[in-house]
């Protein structure tokens, strides 16, 4: 379906790593079951794969084909654009790395990376803190949980406008800071404005998911630890974090993928064609909006490759396959916690 040679998870561990350890330990894992299980798995997976093939797979393939062609751009003597696509091979790809466009590409590459690193780190820290605070509270938790949804729930276009207004020269941000910073002009402050608005909007995403993970930790684990006299800090590092790690890593991974494709927020908050906030998706958008669909598709494919590499590294660096190994780790963590308790 996709053209990616190495998607992160498959490259991350051998297929066998996916086997839940519990399964083989239990006596019911018989050979006759294997085929039935496979059939069941295929049945359960197919709706998802079907939808993705239609909605993403087909457009991506069409896009990849498009990226090998160039639309007619010359004019005939009547002034009409000469129609018909021309096979360009990798021309659309090599053009990205030549001349002015190379400078624009690396600038956008830098911006995209900068935004991704700063926003994801900040929102992870803030999101986890939010989740921990909310998990502590018993009264009013529902209310706070609903209220942290607010930033995430406001449509991006609207929150972009809101922040644009806040960051105007005579807006609320400068009024609070008692400074006159030109946030919305092309320049470094514009980057900061994007980071602030993006982190505000997306921290709740991580917060909510971590909170859900926290709520699913069996209470006995904590109680046992508390009886044992483990302090809050120890509890966090030894129990909480390992147990919510699967949910947290998935949340962070998807935030990264989203941040790497960032488009709406800089476009609304600062504007398109602004060097300081131009992202790779914005470059693809600019190409498409000027009818160079082939070139736009080439940018999209390059961006895809970059994202795939990042995702792969993320999964690798944070220890094996997130999903496949998760259970083993959390069992380990749980055992560790118990051992400590009984010691």
């Amino acid at each position: 379906m996709t053209t990616a040679p190495g998607h992160p998870a498959s490259a991350a561990g051998s297929p066998a790593a996916g086997a839940p350890p519990g399964q083989s330990a239990n006596g019911r894992g018989r050979k006759g079951d294997v085929q039935g299980t496979r059939r069941l798995a295929a049945l359960l997976l197919s709706p998802t794969l079907l939808v993705l093939a239609l909605v993403i797979g087909y457009p991506v393939l069409a896009g990849f084909r498009e990226s090998l062609y160039a639309r007619g751009e010359g004019l005939d003597d009547q002034g009409f654009v000469v129609e018909g696509d021309r096979f360009a091979g990798l021309g659309n790809y090599t053009a990205i790395f030549q001349g002015d466009r190379a400078a624009a590409f690396w600038n956008a590459f830098g911006n995209t990376t900068f935004f991704t690193v700063t926003t994801v780190v900040l929102e992870t820290v803030i999101g986890v803190a939010m989740a921990l605070i909310m998990h502590q509270m018993f009264r009013g938790r529902a209310l706070v949980r609903a209220s942290i949804l607010v930033p995430w729930a406001i449509p991006t276009a609207i929150s972009g406008l809101l922040w644009r207004w806040i960051f105007q020269a005579d807006g609320a941000a400068n009024a609070v800071l008692r400074e006159q910073i030109l946030w919305t002009a092309d320049g470094f402050p514009a980057k900061m404005a994007i980071v602030v608005a993006e982190v505000w909007k997306t921290s709740p995403f991580i917060g909510l998911l971590v909170l859900a993970g926290l709520q699913m930790i069996p209470r006995e684990v904590y109680e046992a630890a508390r009886v044992d006299g483990a302090g809050p800090v120890q509890q966090f590092w030894r129990i909480t974090l390992p147990l919510v790690k699967p949910a947290l890593l998935v949340a962070v991974l998807f935030r990264m993928l989203d941040a790497l494709r960032m488009f709406d927020l800089p476009a609304v908050l600062i504007g398109v064609n602004q060097k300081s906030v131009e992202t790779l998706t914005m470059l693809a958008w600019f190409e498409a909006s000027n009818l160079r669909y082939g070139s736009a598709a080439a940018y999209a494919t390059v961006l895809f490759l970059y994202i795939a590499v990042i995702a792969y590294l993320f999964v690798k660096l944070l220890g094996a396959d997130i999903i496949g190994e998760a259970r083993r780790q959390d069992r380990g963590a749980r055992k560790g916690a118990r051992k400590k308790v009984t010691a």
Binding site: L75, A169, L182, A185, D186, K275
Partner: protein, 453 residues
């Protein structure tokens, strides 16, 4: 005539429909089509329901006009398709419609700068123009049936609907910048006339800023944020100096002394005469700045006139300002044209109905009603001299003069690339990131391939 099925159908259905179209054309087409060649005016056939694709109807006036049309034309109903408010989004939707060759859109409401791109890509049908040779002569609109009579319109606006001498879009609204100035402050400083040259403007500022009321007022503002407005400011500055961004031969002309003089005006103005936050002010930001009373002179569109005169407390300058033509280096400057034109999508069914509807919406009566309801500048010259209109919109005579002498923005098929290049280089020059000369050279180099034929 048969309609092409709304959703295009399968490729096969498309072929059948095309064949049907071709057949019906040979059967009944081409009666009074005469000399016009290419572009396919022969396609203006078919009557029936159509759509009108436009940005939002701001006042409800459009719906009123469409309702009136619909009650007169029960067989040729018009449905309005509203697009997002953002011009970029409007263009994108129209292009998507064209690339999928959908017949969902019939009549398109196009920004004046999109004509070349849409025409060159064959997304529009050429429109039959009544011979302009008569000019003021007695040729009544009825004389040439099915053709469009443009003689009542301001010639500068008609130019925006043309591509390579052929008509693709009919001007429905126009727009041009004017110089807003604080009449009260000028009077106090003993200046009777609004400035005609930059130097007069700066001198006036110096006098006004010595007054206690004018102490903390900034002198001048024209938009220099990195948007389409930057292109407009640059075109106005350069054409006022006698230059142009793309010369009459279709090639970039930025290596001229005039272009340099124009850009240097902008650079100096930004450095010494404009508010500190000028680069962050968009059109609305400029209006707020002017309305807060902190600005003596401002280049701005006509829409601000009524808003800045509101006496509900939103404007500090209500009743204190007036408008004049833009100044230039040695005499009156040159404004840049805005506005919208109506065109017919090449993929639309019922093009004859579409043409009639365009004639209806751009006619004098409809434009008059539109001016009254929305204060959008008309393209019919006579409306600017109508005493009733002038009473309601006192700036009309100034605006008419501005439009008559206005220049369009560069006409380019790749307008999106051209304007992005202009914005980038001009912004770098105005913000001091690049010397003016270098920005012009770089722009000249960038525009070369973009405007090559």
């Amino acid at each position: 005539m048969r309609r092409i099925p709304p959703n295009g159908g399968t490729p096969l259905a498309g072929i059948v429909a095309c064949a049907a179209l071709a057949l019906s054309l040979t059967a009944c087409g081409g009666d009074d089509d005469g000399g016009s060649q290419g572009g396919g005016t022969a396609g203006l056939e078919g009557r029936g329901p159509i759509t009108f694709v436009t940005g939002k109807d701001r006042s409800g006036n459009l719906q009123k006009q469409v309702d009136a049309w619909n009650s007169d034309h029960p067989q040729e109903q018009v449905r309005v398709i509203e697009l997002p408010d953002e011009p970029n989004d409007q263009r994108q939707q129209m292009i998507q419609n064209a690339t999928t060759k959908s017949d969902a859109y019939s009549v398109l409401n196009l920004d004046v700068v999109w004509t070349a791109e849409f025409a060159a890509n064959r997304w529009l049908v050429e429109l039959p123009m009544a011979s302009l040779s008569g000019g003021s002569g007695g040729s009544s609109p009825q004389a040439e049936k099915g053709k469009i009579d443009l003689s009542a319109m301001l010639p500068a606006t008609v130019k925006t609907g043309q591509y390579r001498g052929r008509l693709y879009a009919v001007p429905s609204t126009s727009d041009a910048g004017m110089l807003y100035y604080r009449e009260d402050l000028l009077e106090k400083a003993g200046i009777a006339e609004p400035p005609k040259t930059y130097q007069e403007m700066w001198d006036a500022c110096d006098k006004v800023q010595k007054l206690p009321e004018g102490e903390d007022a900034d002198c001048y503002f024209t938009e220099v944020n990195k948007t389409e407005s930057m292109t407009i400011s640059a075109v106005e500055a350069i054409t006022a100096a006698g230059g142009s961004i793309i010369g009459p031969d279709g090639k970039p002309a930025l290596n001229t002394p005039q272009a340099r003089q124009g850009l240097e005006f902008l650079v100096d103005a930004k450095k010494t005469r404009m508010p500190k936050e000028a680069v962050t002010l968009d059109t609305e930001g400029g209006r707020r700045y002017f309305q807060s009373g902190k600005l003596v002179f401002q280049r701005q569109w006509p829409y601000q006139y009524a808003l800045a005169n509101e006496d509900d407390g939103s404007s500090e300058v209500a009743g204190k300002f007036a408008v004049a033509p833009l100044p230039g280096p040695d005499g009156p400057g040159v404004a840049n044209l805005g506005g919208h034109n109506l065109a017919i999508s090449a993929f639309a069914a019922n093009k004859a109905t579409s043409l009639d509807f365009i004639n209806y919406l751009t006619g004098a009566d409809a434009q008059r009603a539109n001016l009254l309801a929305t204060s959008q500048a008309p393209t019919i010259a006579a409306l600017y001299d109508d005493p009733e209109m002038v009473k309601k919109f006192p700036y009309l005579p100034v605006l008419k003069k501005a439009i008559e002498t206005a220049e369009p923005r560069p006409v380019a098929v790749k307008y999106g690339d051209v304007t992005a290049a202009i914005q980038g280089e001009m912004y770098d020059a105005v913000t001091g990131k690049k010397p003016a000369e270098q920005a012009l050279n770089d722009l000249q180099a960038k525009l070369g391939p973009l405007t090559a034929q």
